[in-house]
Amino acid sequence: MEATKIIDSRGAACPGPITDLAKAYRNSKVGDVLELWATDKGVKADTQAWATKTGNEILEVKEDPDKIVVRIKINKR
């Protein structure tokens, strides 16, 4: 599935990638696929907790050499 929006949060440690994800969520609609790029290791657990809380779906978590990529499908908005 093509990403509707790429969110580049690389380098962000505080407050961290969830800032950008939550911002993108506000402007998203059902069916969108958000692709979050981060370097902060905490991103995996945090996006998982976020998805559980918001009822959205993690499609994939991938570790590239320079970033962690999390793809999220918006099912609830």
């Binding site: 380098g11 440690a13 505080c14 961290g16 969830i18 950008d20 939550a22 809380k53 918001t54 009822g55």
Partner: protein, 396 residues
């Protein structure tokens, strides 16, 4: 030879530090601000939660060094392609180098119901009047539920949100209202403090002081009639006293081309050199840019120092260093320290750090002029995040 013109928009922390570090024998430096006064924003906390009457503003004209010009004017449009900047009275400014340092704009109108709450109760993040208004509401409070937090993830100074809850709890205990009050701290982040290592340090205090945390709570709407705040994530909280920090947006200035701004009007700049995307002669420093770091005075300061070097033809870059003082109340504080390559260190709160935070409030005016630079250089050297992480993260 004619001097190169540097135009700085905004006489806040970032703008003043940049202007005051440029050699005025070589550069013609002008600072433009829509206000006459510069405010020490961290003190809003002590006005809002302790009723402090300290004077926290000074005229910008007295904060620029000799040789730097200050003009009071509100900028409406910037044309980066023509190097022209338009003021409110049809004034047009030209430049060789431009630095935009306009901070953030509170936006209480973007969330239904927030404007009413904001006008009635004030907050602890936007200005002195709002902080005073909040203090008068807190002083009249007799017990019930206080819902306190940031309404959206983009906010200045990440620790200040929880600092507010800590100072509030200390106040309620002091006036004997603690047992009659429920403090609910809501946050869009997964935990009380967004960065996990610092959360580990402060979470026990949050628990011990009976502050309830509602994580993943992004304010979607407020119903002032039924005194309820609703989140995007589907939760709600009923309040007797709401303390809601409004969303922060970027500048209201129209910038040509508009592609240099994101959807919230923050200015896209590269994270090391603060150059506005696609331009070599224009910079965005401090809270107004999109850098992946916290919106704090310290980052504005360090970005400004790097830009002053770059404009003067020397190599410099910003490494993403953050250094936010974090008042945990009852006379103790810590610092949130990290940079682009090192995560936040779990730095424990102490009395000494609280004294440092209070000293900072006094020497702040010197930092704007650059006379405190040697102290800062030493401090930053001794508190490098990799060093702190080695010392404190390993004991876990």
């Amino acid at each position: 030879m004619e001097m190169k013109k540097v135009l700085v928009i905004g006489g806040g922390g970032g703008g003043l530090i940049l202007a005051n570090h440029l050699d005025t024998n070589e550069f013609d430096v002008t600072v433009v601000d829509k206000n006459d006064l510069h405010y020490y924003q961290p003190w809003f906390l002590y006005i809002a939660f302790k009723g402090s009457k300290r004077k926290i503003s000074r005229p910008i004209g007295e904060l620029v060094k000799p040789g730097v010009k200050f003009v009071k004017d509100e900028i409406s449009t910037i044309n980066l392609d023509e190097r022209k900047v338009y003021g409110s009275r049809k004034t047009v400014y030209n430049y060789d180098y431009l630095a935009i340092s306009t901070g953030t704009t509170p936006d209480p109108d973007s969330i239904p119901g927030l404007r009413e709450v904001y006008d009635e109760y004030g907050d602890y993040h936007t200005n002195v009047w709002n902080a005073e208004k909040l203090w008068s509401n807190i002083s009249r409070f007799k017990g019930g539920t206080i819902a306190i937090g940031q309404s959206s993830p983009t906010c200045k100074c990440p620790p200040s949100l929880l600092e507010g809850a800590f100072l509030l709890e200390e106040h309620l205990r002091k006036v004997g209202l603690k047992d009659k009050t429920r403090i609910v701290f809501f946050t869009p982040f997964p935990r009380a403090y967004p960065a996990e290592p610092m959360n580990k340090v402060v979470e026990p205090m949050v628990k011990e002081r009976g502050i309830e945390v509602m994580p993943f709570f992004d304010v979607d709407a407020i119903d002032p009639k039924n005194k309820t705040i609703f989140s995007l994530e589907g939760d709600s909280v009923k309040y007797d006293l709401p303390i809601v920090v409004p969303p922060c947006k970027g500048t209201k200035i129209k910038i040509i081309p508009e592609t240099v701004q994101d959807e919230d009007r923050f200015i896209k700049a590269d994270k090391k050199y603060m150059k506005i995307q696609g331009y070599d002669d224009a910079f965005a420093i401090g809270d107004c840019n999109t850098l992946p770091t916290s919106k704090t005075g310290v980052t504005a300061h360090l970005e400004a120092m790097a830009v002053s070097e770059i404009i003067q033809g020397r190599y410099a870059e910003f490494n993403g260093r953050i250094n936010c003082p974090f008042d945990t109340a009852y006379g103790k504080a810590t610092f949130v320290i990290a940079d682009y390559n090192n995560p936040v260190a779990p730095y424990p709160p102490t009395r000494i750090k609280h004294m440092m935070k209070m000293t900072m409030a006094r020497i702040y005016w010197m930092t704007l002029k650059g006379t405190a630079d040697p102290i800062f250089e030493q401090f930053f050297k001794f508190t490098r995040p990799e060093k702190l992480n080695r010392k404190y993260a390993s004991v876990e």
